[in-house]
Each structure stands twice: as C-alpha cells, then as structure tokens.
Symmetry: D2
Subunit: 165 residues, 4 copies
C-alpha cells in the first residue's frame, strides 16, 4: 500500500536572511507573550515548515496526579507553530519585499479554525512540535501539525486554517 | 426558519451536593495547574453544563501590538470547560456513587479531539466561556463550547469529544 | 446559566428577489448534481441561513441491517447547506449587484474545511438540515450546521469554513 | 528538519484470511449501499490501513461548469475508508475470534466526528483515498485520511474518531 504521507509542497529554493529568521524567532518566542508562558523554543524555520521544543514545567500540568501536560498546551503550541509555518511560507513567497514588510504580514494573519487529535498522554521532560503548510493560497493557508515526546513518539496531530494576505 | 439552536439535553432534575461542586471547582481551578496559569474562574457547574470567567492578563497576550488574547488561551479554555461539563454530566449520571468516586472519574477522562472556530478577535478586559454536553454515551461524550467577550459578543465556538467511563 | 446559543448575525433587512432565490434553489438542487443524488430539497433561503429536507432512500443507506443513513450523506448535506447559507449571505451583502453577478460568486466559493459531530444514529423517513453563517469576512466565511430527524431530534452538528470573494 | 510524517502503528505481523478480506470488501462496497452510490472500489485492506479507488461519474459532480467532484463525495469517501481501516485494525487485534465475530464488530462501530481539509479542487477521471489508524484504543480509534487525484496529487486530508468495541 502506498504509504500515507504528505505530498510535500515543492521544496522551495528560498534561503531566508538570518535577520528574517531571527525576527520571526523573537516574534514567536517573546513578543507573542503567551508563547513565552508556554516556553516555546523555536528550533527551525524553513519555507512552509517550523519546529519547536517545549520543556515540561509545573505551570503546564494538566493532571496533578499523572503529571501530564495539559491538552491546552498542546493545542496552543500546535496553533503557534502552524502560524509560524504560514509566516515562513509567506516570507518565502514575498522575498522581493523588505524584511520589515514580510514581518508586518503577521498583523494580518488570523487563525480561522484549529483541530487537534489527542492520541497519547503527553508525559516526559520535553516535547517537540512541528508544523507544515499543506497549501498556501492567496486568502487561506492550510496546515498540518504534529506533537511528539522526547523519544519521538507521536502524541497529537492537528490541522488548522489561516487567513493570510 | 427554525432557529439554529442546540436541542438541549433533557434538563436534569439532579442537584449536586455543595461538596461535589466545590471539589470540581478546586480540581479545575487549582489542581489542573495550567488552568491556574490561564486564570479560569468557574462561575457555574450544572449537569452537562459549565461556565467560567477569564480575565485578560499580560501573560495571555497573543499579539503585542493589538493586545489581543492568544488563540491558544481560547482553545485551552474551551477544552477545559468542555471537560468540566462532561465531569458534571458524569456526576449527574452517577449520583448513586459517593462524591469521591464521582471525582475519581476525572482520572479516566481524556480529550479525543477538539475543534475551535475563531470568529472575531478576542479583545477586552475579561471573557466568558461556556460548554455544554451534546451527548453523553457510555464511552464517548460530545460537547459544544462558546467563548464571549465581556459585552456578550460571540468570539469563538468549539466542539470536542471525550473518552469517558 | 446563560443559554448556550449563537449570537446571531444582525438580522438583515434584505429581502431577496424571487429570481435570486429560485436561481440558488436550481443551482443547489439540480446543477450541483451530487446534491440531486442526495435528494436535497431546499425549503428556505434567507440572508446567512438555509434549510433543506432530505428523504431517506435505499441508495443513502449506511448500514444494511439497521437501515440507517450513511454518515457521508450527513456530512455532504451539511457541507452543501453551509455553502448555500454562505451564498445567501454573500447575496445579501451584494444586493447592489445584478442577480447574475451574485450567482456567479458561487464559482469562487470553496470549502476550506468541514467538521461533523455525529451524536445519534440517523434513522427515519426524512431529515432536516440547517446552516447558519457565523461570520462573513472578506476572504473567509465561518458556518455552523445542524442535522435533525423528522421528530426534530438533533442527530449531528457541524462547522465549516469557506473561501469567499 | 524532521520530516512531518506519521509515526506508523507498529507494523502488524497479522495476515488476514482471504475470507475476512473478501467479507470486508463486500460489506464496504455493496452492503453499505451509499458506498456503492459513491462507487468505492476497495483496493487494499491491511491491519490499520485501507485504500480505495473512486471513478468520476456525472452523479458525483459538485460544480457543473468546472466538472469537479463534490466535496461531499470526498468527505463521505474519507469517512468510509477510515471506518474500513478501523475495522481492519479491530480484525488484527481479534484474530482469535472467528471471522463472523470480527465482521460483527461493524455493527458497533460509529463515527464520533470527522474533519476534512480541502486543499485543491478534485478534477480528473479517478481518485485514490487512503486511511490509517493512528491509535486504536479500547473505546475510541483515531484515524487520518488522504485523498489524491490520479496523478498522486494530494487534494484533501482528513481526521476522524470512531467508537469501537
């Protein structure tokens, strides 16, 4: 049987300027204050894709006995990462614009809707979240996301749509 | 045209003991630590329904310029409230059990999946979240949720499914 | 507790021309051939809302023993009705356009994503589907849908997003 | 960056009896009458996975001018294929049961909810749908689905949850 895999968006030949990557990193790790509350550490940004690390902390606990991560942390992280992946896809599409103009597109980005499927309990010291843009249109972007534990086990998957401009 | 409204679950004649309500409130406001990070204040718990208030705080900001609430706060809040509504529906179904046994059902509750639709930007000093159990089966509960601003404007809607036992 | 109800879109004072309503009815009942396969009968079209009747037929069966409606009929019907509700909302927004221009907007309408929650088995001789536009933006419309049996029991709920222009 | 791929369920060493595969094929292609209306041809059934082919036909058209497949055909097909993948996962788990007992589990299978993301218009002479079980619990199964055109382009993705027993 054909493996069920995403047909990836054609790999972009775009290479981002370090300033653009650093700008997105600061935006998503610090200026979006709730992402700091979550403790997202962006580890990769490439056209249409993003990846972050999240460390377990007491404030993020969803079940006091089992010490598992709150599902809301998972959904918030996946939404944040999908938004970052969309920003990177927009950045790659608009390389002709100055960095500031590409960054300013964040102001017009909006989550339309989000779905998260919770497959396994989120236990452990840290987690990895990834997001990929499945389609970038002129008005809407569609994304898929995955959430793993430190051993690479898939804990949750997600899908989200964004308004873009 | 018939108004599009939820056909409410048949109103339960169940009245919870104050200890059960207080126990759920403590569980959802304090023991689920991330709900404390969000700042959820449970204002009503009745069979199959729940309602909370959430105050805007700097840690919850999603956009530093527009000062709007992070979408992840909305989705985490709606997931939490739907879980509480399911706990209250389970509590109503199992009034023959001691309170401790009803509370212990939380340990077996799990979110299967969550969808959130973001309709309008979440701006303002406080917000209200409500959740309702649409169907409580023996294995799965289905819920709907809504998120309002302080003026009662509908900002987001959601749906989620839970494993129950 | 505050009833969980949709904050309705501000009731539009728009009254559609009979030709526009008839045109949408023909489009959704006949030109969208699969809707004819489903057997949708549009019973109401008003700004941002739509309603249809669907009769049970052998071709729509999902379980041969229980004789229940196939879940795919439910999801296809809800998608179709939400699309019609969006068309009616667009029609109300663009009453300054000739009917043909409003009808032509269908060519640019696209479903972004769809969620359906199946609450109860769909049994009986006929069913009712309703859809409501929760938000009509310039690029995306968000909708909610409900599916009832002939006795008015809520069987399924849905949410969908559409690209509009 | 780590490719965003599904962590596959551990490959099962289970080999189904030809009678079981044939029984599922008959069930999904013929006894579920609406699948016959859709024209699903099951091409593969393996533990936790399923795949089908669907030919374009006039009855399935969603847009008369563009001659594209109705979105409801996509969502119905993905729901059907995910249900079949769950049946095959249940079959693999219960190889100790006689075939008839495994087949009878279909009577207790129910879709809890379904999400479909529509990425690209469905045009062409035939289509391929695949489904994979991401998690098979004792009460709920979670699945992911994909819908391709004849050239292998990814047109739609989906996720669905099922009650199992």
């Amino acid at each position: 049987m054909r493996p069920i895999s995403s047909t990836p968006p054609s790999p972009s030949a775009v290479t981002f300027e370090p300033e653009f990557v650093a700008g997105l990193k600061t935006l998503f790790e610090e200026l979006i204050v709730f992402n700091r509350t979550l403790g997202l550490q962006i580890t990769e940004i490439s056209p249409g894709r993003a990846r972050a690390r999240l460390a377990m902390r007491p404030e993020l606990i969803g079940h006091h006995v089992q010490q598992r991560l709150h599902g809301g942390v998972v959904s918030a992280t996946l939404d944040a990462m999908a938004g970052l992946a969309v920003m990177s896809a927009l950045g790659a599409r608009h390389m002709d614009e100055p960095i500031s103009a590409r960054m300013a597109r964040f102001g017009k980005l909006g989550t339309v809707d989000l779905r998260v499927d919770f497959l396994r309990q989120a236990l452990g010291g840290h987690f990895i979240a990834t997001a990929e843009v499945m389609r970038l249109g002129s008005r809407v972007a569609s994304t898929r996301m995955e959430f793993f534990d430190g051993q690479g086990r898939l804990l949750s998957t997600g899908a989200a749509a964004y308004i873009v401009s």
